[in-house]
């Protein structure tokens, strides 16, 4: 670690390092409980706690926690209905869990000295890959081989096919990559900038008030981005799902 060598240096990447908390191995595979796992568990417990609190005393006139639960429910339900339609109902639990998990990971990651689960490419790629495989399977199950028509849109002249079909296939295959990298890169960049500005505050002493003001502004932006990226991830999932369910649009 550079910060260990020269303690004055700011190391914005150090916050993403994974450290083992408990060694666990199954065969040769290392599945140790790390700080990443720790914050996955914290996120899950936080969401479950919120929903248990909100759903413990269900009433016609909701209290604050019930209001949060119902607002998030209606938010995702409307998103799914607008983008997929009524057939999207079956996939609502997954989309809802996905949104809540990513949103809470992003938000909890903004608390100082915490770890952002979604800043690791493997986590976001796991989600994106799951969505990609799921959406492709749904597409083939619902439409049969007609799903392949998607790579050759209607109304395209035959002589354009050699160009259009590879482009469509490439754009289809890059979906999970862009989906996962977008979320991970946003988290990585945002947290790095926060760390760098925080380091400037310490370095500049009294004049640290200038980067402090910048930090406050960037922090507010990051809270917004935490929501926005979860929202984008969810809405893109809905759009891919819609493509699989209604490929001829």
């Amino acid at each position: 670690m550079a910060s260990a060598k020269e303690p004055n240096l700011i190391d914005p990447i150090h916050q993403f390092a994974i450290s083992k908390l408990a060694d666990i191995k199954i065969g040769n595979i290392d599945i140790s409980f790390t700080n990443s796992s720790q914050f996955m568990v914290i996120t899950t417990i936080a969401i479950m706690f919120l929903f248990m609190l909100g759903l413990s005393k269900r009433s016609i006139i909701p209290n604050r926690f019930q209001m949060i639960c119902e607002l998030s429910y209606n938010f995702i339900a409307n998103l799914l209905r607008a983008n997929v339609g009524e057939q999207g109902r079956d996939y609502f639990p997954f989309v809802f869990t996905l949104f809540m998990f990513i949103f809470f990971c992003n938000l909890i990651g903004l608390i100082p000295y915490t770890f952002t689960v979604t800043s690791h490419i493997i986590v976001t790629f796991a989600f994106a890959g799951l969505i990609f495989i799921g959406v492709t399977l749904i597409g083939f199950v619902k439409n049969g081989l007609g799903y392949l028509r998607m790579f050759y849109p209607k109304g395209v002249p035959v002589y354009m096919a050699p160009i259009i079909i590879p482009i469509e296939i490439i754009s289809y295959l890059t979906k999970p990559v862009s989906l996962s990298v977008r979320l991970m890169a946003n988290m990585l960049a945002g947290h790095s900038i926060i760390k760098i500005f925080a380091g400037f505050i310490v370095m500049m002493g009294f004049f640290g008030i200038i980067p402090l003001a910048g930090l406050v502004a960037i922090y507010a932006l990051e809270v917004f981005i935490a929501f926005l990226q979860a929202y984008i991830f969810t809405i893109l999932t809905c759009i891919y799902l819609n493509d699989a369910l209604h490929p001829h649009h």
Binding site: A2, S3, K5, E6, N8, L9, I10, D11, P12, I13, H14, F16, A17, I18, I24, I29, D30, I31, S32, F33, T34, S36, S37, M40, V41, T43, T44, I47, M48, F51, L55, R58, I60, P62, Q66, C69, E70, Y73, N74, P93, F94, F96, T97, V117, S119, H120, I122, V123, A126, M184, L188, I196, G199, F200, M203, M204, I210, P211, A213, G214
Partner: protein, 182 residues
């Protein structure tokens, strides 16, 4: 505000060499050895959360929201029923008022005609009385006039008789005098 951001940018440029990236290890994100652990725990935590949402949270939420919507619909229906009832009552009330006012008008007009009749009767009676009285007094006056006329004539005759008695030797007859006067 742009000035502020310029200063922030300048500070960043000046302090840039102070940023030390982790050397040798590269990005922690690219450390493949951590992948199995992350995937394993992600599947476990996300799986638990998914089961919780799918089995517990979402059905409860859906029930609550549907119950509320049902309650709202019921309340709206009830409110509409009450509203229509109130409108019926209002219509009845207005009809009653209308019929009552009509009745009152009839009663008033009846009373008016009755009063007119009575007035007419009284007037007639009075006229009759008056004309009778008038005739009576006329008769009386005529009678008195006649009477006084006779008396005057008699007095005239008497006085002429007296005067003539003084001047004439022969007394005059009453009938002759009357002839002479008239």
């Amino acid at each position: 505000m742009t000035f502020f951001w310029k200063i922030v940018f300048l500070v960043s440029i000046v302090l840039w060499p102070q940023i030390g990236f982790t050397e040798g290890d590269g990005l922690p994100q690219m450390d493949i050895t951590t992948f199995p652990s992350q995937l394993f725990w992600l599947i476990i935590t996300f799986g638990i959360l998914y089961l919780f949402m799918w089995r517990t949270a979402i059905p409860k939420l859906r029930n609550t929201i549907e119950e509320r919507q049902d309650k709202i619909l019921l309340d709206i229906n009830e409110a509409e029923k009450i509203k229509s009832e109130a409108e019926d009552t209002l219509r009845e009330y207005e009809e009653k008022i209308q019929s009552a006012s009509k009745e009152a008008g009839e009663i008033i007009s009846q009373a008016k005609t009755q009063a007119d009749e009575m007035i007419e009767n009284i007037k007639k009676k009075q006229d009759l009385k008056l004309s009778q009285m008038l005739n009576d007094s006329k008769d009386r006056i005529n009678k008195q006039y006649e009477d006084s006329k006779d008396q005057i004539e008699n007095a005239k005759i008497e006085s002429i008789k007296l005067i003539s008695a003084k001047f004439l030797t022969e007394s005059l007859d009453d009938d002759e005098i009357r002839k002479e006067i008239n």
